[in-house]
Symmetry: D2
């Protein structure tokens, strides 16, 4: 994530926002953020959101996710929001949203859903 | 849907609710509504929600959907809510939610995301 | 499944085939099998395929699945094939395929992917 | 993709292989390729696979994909394979597979499914 220039901009129990500036390394020829980067920050936001509800000495792994790329990710930056829908003992399910933010206006550019698994460090 | 006993309980632009009573035909041995019926009403709710925003002489087809079954669908009835996230010229993307409703309390039992395509009747 | 008229037609370790005759109860106005029934037998085929690799005293639950409806499910019957891609201690991932079969010819009408969880009966 | 160090290693009608060397920029602390990079090359392989079957003056856009991360992507390199399952006039559906390759042995580390749309350049 640091390789892409992303940073956590908001953190709450079950909810994480990640911001990615529209830097040249992550933009395509048309000036918008590449779908791969959009998906990567969405996946990461969901992972951290799940992790906010985990006990100590655990880790989180993405089992799977599905994402719809709704519109080109244009903006000064893109913001991914991960929100826990269900937190179980073993599995957590998150909603993933990515917004393009330009001049303060937010537009939904991707929407997804993700399943994660909790792993106890002692089991690794 | 009528085969399952389902009926539309709410309709608004871009949003449809479908109710399915917990009848014996759709319940499993443990008394909750079968995952197949849960998915079917979720898919249908999204399809109708997309259709509320379509012009005349068009039809809607499900391209794909993904659904997480979060909890057993216990209740007097289950309610599926389809909500349009993005309505494009060709493709529409919907959020799918299914709730188990018992004694007035709603619990999220499934959550999904769906892509649909608009087909002009003249093209069929 | 018996409510829909489906039956297991092939069973092998990590692989299950389920056949669904094109009966009036599961067909739409255009004469092909309803998407809800297609998804339901795909989900069921994957669940049984996972279960073939499980130890005794365990159960299988669908965590989530994603399915693309590729073509109308026309045919004398439809056949769902569930194949285990990865069988882990907790989670199993299956590929789901549904074919329309007419006069011996098979056509892929739906394709999906599914995550399942193993539950020990003693934990319920 | 060039930013990640990826390159096309095989091309055929409806099928593309992309190789990504296990360079430090795309690996995690445990030495395996990051899930975001795995998903990105899978998405790209499917996009190019769809594109091999398109007429001139068209472009391809990813509508959505779903991916299961089955195992850590360890290896000298990872290889993504995109295969067209259905090529329609508007929509294409691809299967996505990612393998970790070490000392010539291939292990499936991710499996997915993707929907793409064909866009005529003149319509943009």
């Amino acid at each position: 994530m640091s390789h892409l220039g992303a940073r956590i901009s908001h953190i709450a129990p079950g909810r994480i926002h990640i911001e990615l500036p529209g830097r040249p390394e992550v933009t395509q020829q048309h000036g918008y953020v590449h779908g791969g980067a959009v998906s990567a920050i969405a996946d990461t936001a969901g992972g951290y959101a799940a992790y906010t509800l985990f006990p100590e000495d655990t880790e989180v792994l993405t089992v799977e996710y599905k994402i719809n790329l709704l519109a080109p990710a244009i903006g000064d930056h893109v913001e991914a929001v991960g929100t826990v829908l269900k937190s179980g003992r073993t599995l957590t399910v998150c909603q993933l949203e990515v917004f393009g933010v330009q001049a303060g206006e937010r537009k939904l550019v991707a929407n997804g859903q993700q399943t994660l698994i909790r792993v106890n460090r002692s089991e690794r």
